[in-house]
């Protein structure tokens, strides 16, 4: 195995799937050879596969997803890129009312094999219109699958699986993850949806974290180890479906749970996972569940403001210490 970045792992998944299946094509704003994608994930793909399979679109988010839906129900496997996660708002009808409901509403006649890739998250000082984490919105729409890869290998394995899945998948990426490196298997490598992974084993407390927060949680776990605390870090990897078993098994072992996510606290990812454990595993808990999320505020521009809101290694350490 070689080390590559999260960005390159995504690109490798796209490339391999496009080679494997000629119904797979990409569409999005500035993903083609002139700009190569806002985060360069699609770099080189237009040159390799031609502009018909790597379509530069007008700035029309609703039509990007709507067009992808129409193509998906007529034999293609589109992978649409929305340049920034915040801009899914412009395509929300097509995602939540069309893509998510077509299979059900038409009595199972049709499938919507569609992947929507988009980067969420803050940390790069671009303020309230380009920094949100909206993944929980999609958890609330039956019919959608939601992937939240944290590692380059997960990015590759889940993206390849998402492209082969017959359901619409909202594939959440994170701006700060693109340059992160990790070991990634070459060639065929897919991961099942609904399979969490224990990213670090421990016995005193469980941290369930997603996307960039997995990395902050791992750093926190490392630091806490020096204080003699053994921290387990669980990464759900997909939010829909959610791997309840791995989460509950971990809580059963440690008796303590901290849930960390970058989305807003109210009705968010942390709320759902905390509720799950409260409902199905409260007897295993030796301390109250703690949630660490971005407070319910827009993401501000100025670095000290933004830094203050988004969870990080330090705030994770603080919250863990409250329950041990």
């Amino acid at each position: 195995m070689r080390k590559i970045t999260y960005r390159d792992a995504l690109r490798e998944a796209l490339l391999e799937e496009m080679q494997r299946d000629k119904t797979v094509f990409l569409l999005g704003e500035d993903i083609g050879r002139y700009w190569q994608g806002a985060f360069k994930v699609t770099k080189g793909l237009a040159e390799k596969f031609g502009e018909e399979r790597v379509l530069d679109t007008p700035i029309s988010e609703s039509a990007i997803i709507g067009t992808a839906v129409g193509a998906a129900i007529t034999g293609m496997r589109p992978v649409a890129e929305i340049m920034f996660g915040d801009l899914v708002t412009l395509a929300m009808d097509q995602i939540a009312n069309q893509a998510a409901k077509i299979h059900y509403m038409f009595g199972g006649q049709s499938r919507v094999p569609l992947v929507i890739r988009t980067p969420f998250g803050g940390g790069v000082n671009i303020a309230a219109h380009h920094s949100q984490s909206l993944e929980a919105w999609f958890m609330h729409v039956p019919g959608l699958l939601v992937a939240v890869p944290s590692m380059p290998s997960d990015a590759k394995g889940l993206l390849k699986a998402a492209i082969r899945n017959d359901n619409p998948v909202v594939f959440c990426e994170h701006k700060l993850l693109y340059p992160i490196e990790g070991l990634v298997p070459e060639g065929e490598y897919t991961l099942p949806f609904g399979a969490a992974e224990v990213k670090r084993e421990g016995k005193d407390v469980t941290i369930v974290a997603t996307m960039f927060m997995v990395h902050e949680a791992l750093k926190a776990a490392e630091a806490l180890e020096k204080d003699g605390l053994s921290v387990e870090v669980v990464d759900p990897r997909t939010l829909v479906p959610l791997d309840k078993k791995v989460i509950i098994d971990s809580v059963r072992k440690t008796g303590r749970l901290v849930v960390v996510s970058e989305d807003c606290k109210t009705a968010g990812v942390t709320a759902e996972i905390a509720a799950l454990v409260a409902e199905e595993a409260i007897d295993y808990l030796d301390a109250p569940i703690k949630r660490l999320a971005t407070p319910d505020a827009p993401i501000p521009f100025s670095p000290p403001l933004e830094k203050h809101l988004i969870p990080d290694e330090k705030s994770i350490i603080q919250i863990v210490k409250k329950i041990v």
Binding site: S62, T67, I73, Q98, H103, G107, L145
Partner: protein
């Protein structure tokens, strides 16, 4: 035009007319849950367009969609069963009147979100182009829908990619109670095509032959790889917008004028005057269609309701 096509078109229009009359009647008997949007008065459009389409071509439909499905070749009985919420309906009772699809004849489904089908049709066109077939996609939508952003986004996209799509605007002058003149400053929505650099064609939507001929050109163009067309068909709904709407916001003279332009009677008259079909054959056809509609009702009413647990089936593929 060849007489077989004309006769078939009349039959389809009659099917829609009698089908919708029947839905209205069943509705009065409390057999139809929810709401209905009847296509009565607009039959010439779906039929004139679909008479130019092949089975493998696609259509995207709307909340006022029964007529589109019938014109594209979907079965009366399974449409009726769906409208009545039966398991034997096209969508196993999950869709209802506003969400009928029959993928086996290219009906990609009706959406109840006004304007949402337009990008989906563009996507079907893109898929055709990428797969390299000679299919076409036709998208029906209303005057009201043409004020949605999706109209602009999706037609522009189809234009720049030169996709085989017919954008068929059924301009019945009203979106619910809102007259066209209150929400746009142009008379003809077809004019908007100029903004996308594609042909905008205006036609009398109550004249089946005129719609057929306009659609014929647009389909030829699309199949020939020359791109999309915006086809505006002027028409009028003879009933209210939906279930409870008495449509009192429409002036009486206006309603009467349009009733006198009834598309079904008009084609019938044209066929008789041209001697395309004998009175005997016409009478026979009218009996046949009435029987087919009755049979559809029987099929629908006899069909079971879905079992409650089916509510949790088919959420994921």
């Amino acid at each position: 035009m060849d007489s077989d096509t004309l006769v078939l078109m009349y039959r389809k229009m009659l099917e829609i007319r009698l089908f919708e009359d029947k839905v209205f009647e069943l509705y009065g008997q409390n057999l139809v849950p929810g709401t209905i949007h009847l296509y009565t008065g607009e039959e010439a459009i779906a039929v004139g367009v679909c008479a130019n389409l092949r089975k493998e071509d696609y259509i995207v439909s709307t909340h006022r969609g029964h007529g589109h499905c019938i014109a594209k070749g979907a079965r009366l009985d399974r449409i009726m069963a769906e409208i009545l919420g039966r398991k034997t309906g096209y969508c196993k009772g999950k869709g209802g009147s506003m969400h009928i699809a029959d993928f086996s004849v290219g009906v990609l489904g009706a959406t109840a979100v006004v304007g949402a089908g337009i990008p989906i049709a563009t996507g079907a066109g893109l898929s055709i182009k990428l797969r390299g077939t000679d299919q076409v996609a036709a998208c029906f939508f209303g005057d009201g829908a043409s004020n949605q952003g999706t109209f602009h986004e999706a037609i522009n996209m189809a234009a720049i990619w030169n996709l085989p799509v017919l954008f068929v605007c059924e301009n019945n002058l009203y979106a619910m109670g809102t007259h066209q003149a209150r929400v746009m400053l142009i008379d003809d929505i077809a004019e908007r095509a100029a903004a996308y650099g594609i042909p905008g064609v205006l036609t009398d939507g109550n004249d089946a032959i005129a719609v057929y001929k306009a659609a014929e050109k647009a389909v030829e163009r699309a199949r020939g790889g020359r791109g999309p067309t915006l086809l505006e068909c002027k028409t009028y709904r003879q009933k209210g917008h939906s279930r409870f709407d008495p449509a009192t916001y429409r002036p009486k003279e206006e309603v009467e004028e349009w009733l006198s332009k009834d598309p079904v009677r008009r084609l019938r008259k044209q066929l008789r005057e041209a001697g395309t079909i004998s009175d005997d054959k016409l009478a026979q056809m009218e009996r046949d269609v009435a029987e087919a509609v009755e049979a559809a009702v029987t099929f629908a009413v006899d069909g079971p309701h879905p079992a409650p647990r089916e509510a949790l089936e088919d959420i994921y593929a």
